[in-house]
């Protein structure tokens, strides 16, 4: 079974540019989460999809971030325009739909975003 994949693994962009990160969850996983780790800080929750619906966007930093999940499959996270403080590692995780006893989140390798 293929794990969670993310693309690209590393992105370097100039301030003001746009970047789109992609996450492919494990097949059949309805839940998809985005997290971010800024250097030296905790991994922070950004948002949560159930299939194509956004369930919780409370962690999104501001309206420069836009997440979508087309058809309940892969998800994209667009940053437009990028700022220096957006640099960090963006993780995606997926889990099967179920209750708390069965929900285990599987993580992708992350995308390291560097904004210059």
């Amino acid at each position: 079974e293929a794990g969670v994949t993310q693309f690209p693994s590393h992105s370097v962009i100039e301030k003001g540019q746009t970047v789109t990160l992609r996450c492919d969850p494990i097949s059949g996983h309805d839940n998809l989460y985005w997290y971010r780790r800024v250097m030296g800080k905790e991994i922070k929750f950004l948002l949560h999809f159930v299939k194509e619906s956004k369930q919780d966007e409370s962690g999104m930093p501001n309206n420069r971030f836009l997440a979508e999940r087309t058809g309940g499959t892969y998800s994209t996270l667009k940053v437009q325009p990028a700022e220096l403080e957006d640099s960090g590692v963006y993780f995606c995780a997926s889990s099967q739909r179920g209750g708390p006893r069965t929900d285990t989140q599987y993580f992708g390798p992350g995308t390291r975003l560097t904004v210059l």
């Binding site: 800080k41 991994i43 949560h48 919780d56 962690g59 929900d103 285990t104």
Partner: protein, 117 residues
């Protein structure tokens, strides 16, 4: 809001010895889950062990075990017979058991474990 604290930014251990990584958390909830995740240098983060708060018995997975002290809100990870492959960043994480939380994880800052041959 829940918080997770890992007070050891870095730890080191000799191969074949035992090391304990500390984690404390703060919550007002009674039902929750605690996790240890490992992120090796290759960056894929994997689940090491999970503890359900309503279970008094400490979770064990091969060489990995936890010391869960609910009253003290402490959740330490013990790695026995350390191996070179255990070198990684270790993250402690909390997850509510309530559906309204959407089961999102709250992480600590991580502990970087070095294993010396």
């Amino acid at each position: 809001a829940q918080t997770v604290t890992q007070s050891q930014p870095e730890m080191s251990v000799q191969e074949a010895e035992t090391v304990t990584l500390s984690c404390t958390y703060d919550t007002s909830e009674s039902d929750y889950y605690l996790f240890w995740y490992k992120q090796p240098p290759s960056r894929q983060m994997i689940l090491v062990i999970r503890q359900e708060a309503y279970k008094q018995q400490n979770a064990t997975e091969n060489r990995f075990s936890v010391n869960f002290q609910k009253a003290a809100k402490s959740f330490s990870l013990k790695i026995s017979d350390s191996q070179l492959g255990d070198a990684a960043m270790y993250f402690c994480a909390y997850r509510s058991a309530f559906p309204s939380s959407n089961y999102k994880l709250t992480f600590g800052k991580g502990t970087l474990l070095t294993v010396n041959p």
